[in-house]
């Protein structure tokens, strides 16, 4: 099973949902990903501008608390886990997914890299305005029946579908 190229989305989804058990029991928090960007970004930015640590929001996220650094480790671990799974299945990827040539109507890697940077920027800017992403609001918030999270997830899909229909070519 570890060497399969793909699991059923239902098996994988159950596996991911079960990760809430250690998150709630051991760390006393819910699965999430986007606040780790503030933690890492805050530390990196403080090397250039130490005064950023006087910003309460940054100070709260870079503080040496279990929750902050647990999430940084979680997000870093995702890259390791995906790498291991990929190696075990023997799958090979292009440097850029072939769908981008269709979606963007251009095969230029530099165009894709520029768009990826800009997309990453607005993705995290939006996630921090909303105070959560597809993990924190989506997986965790909806499962907890949180009203604000459900609204946020509906907005994410609305924004995502709108952008996909208006800005990208059909893949």
């Amino acid at each position: 099973m570890l060497m399969q190229k793909a699991w059923s989305p239902y098996l994988a989804g159950i596996f991911i949902g079960l990760l809430q058990i250690p998150a709630f029991l051991i760390i006393e928090t819910a699965l999430g990903a986007s606040s780790s960007y503030v933690t890492v970004g805050g530390v990196l930015a403080s090397w250039i501008d130490p005064s950023i640590l006087n910003n309460d929001y940054v100070a709260r996220h870079v503080a040496a608390t279990a929750k902050n650094w647990w999430q940084v480790a979680l997000v870093g671990g995702i890259a390791l886990g995906a790498f291991a799974s990929m190696k075990l299945s023997g799958a090979r990827r292009h440097a850029i997914s072939p769908i981008w040539q269709t979606a963007l109507g251009s095969a230029s890697p530099s165009r894709r890299y520029a768009l990826a940077f800009g997309a990453g920027f607005i993705m995290l800017f939006g996630a921090r305005i909303a105070d959560g992403c597809t993990s924190g609001h989506g997986l965790s918030g909806v499962a907890q029946l949180a009203v604000g999270s459900t609204v946020a997830v509906a907005a994410m899909f609305a924004g995502g579908i709108g952008a996909a229909l208006l800005l990208l070519r059909r893949i």
Binding site: F24, Y37, A73, G77, R93, A116, M123, G126, Q144, A146
Partner: protein, 207 residues
């Protein structure tokens, strides 16, 4: 809890998370963009299954009093504004903040730019946060969950949600079997009935 232990737990959980994300293929740009173009429903299947599982898990853990819920505050203006912007970013990145790292692990080079952009976006937000918090984006209520609105225990509502999601997932699978949505290279890049020639793309040599 010590910081070292928290980091160790995070790493182990992250490896498991990344492994499952990779096996589910939900981190593939073809599957995320395909979902947003309403062409591929793997993302919704993984997402709703994980939500249903999480709801059952939390119904038990919270129902028996082992854990407290950790819902975020309901800040409607921020949830809607931020959610819309985040959604646009997800589509153009072909990733979300967590799956960006899975893409890096799987070898997608553009995901390194998504990550760098994401960190820059988080820093830019941090600088803007003190001012933004004073605008309409800072307005909202407390931590609100649906079952409190109607006065039933959380565990009951969570189990109802999970049951409803199972019904939705069964219908979704009947309508679009997941095996038909993977594509030849398990990346959601499906053959086209018309229009753009998928073959030309599939034969592009690896860099």
């Amino acid at each position: 809890m010590s910081l070292t232990l928290a980091i160790a737990v995070g790493l182990v959980m992250g490896v498991a998370f990344g492994f499952a994300l990779e096996k589910s293929r939900v981190f593939e740009p073809g599957i995320i963009v395909g979902q947003m173009q309403l062409r591929n429903f793997i993302m919704l299947k993984v997402f709703l299954t994980a939500v249903a599982t999480g709801a059952v898990v939390l119904a038990v853990l919270n129902g028996f009093g082992f854990v407290r819920l950790q819902p975020k505050a309901a800040l409607y203006a921020a949830d809607i504004t931020g959610g819309l912007i985040l959604g646009v970013g997800i589509t153009l990145a072909g990733a979300c903040p967590g799956t960006t790292l899975a893409q890096i692990g799987a070898g997608y080079r553009d995901a390194l730019f998504t990550l760098a952009g994401g960190i820059a976006g988080a820093v830019a937000f941090s600088y803007a946060q003190p001012s933004l918090a004073k605008t309409f984006l800072g307005e909202g209520g407390g931590k609100l969950i649906f079952t409190d609105l109607i006065g039933v225990p959380y565990w009951a509502g969570a189990l109802v949600l999970a049951a409803a999601l199972v019904v939705v997932l069964v219908a979704l699978e009947k309508w679009k079997p997941w095996r038909d949505e993977m594509g030849g290279d398990v990346d959601g890049d499906l053959p086209h009935d018309q229009g753009y020639p998928a073959g030309a793309i599939l034969t592009r040599p690896a860099e």
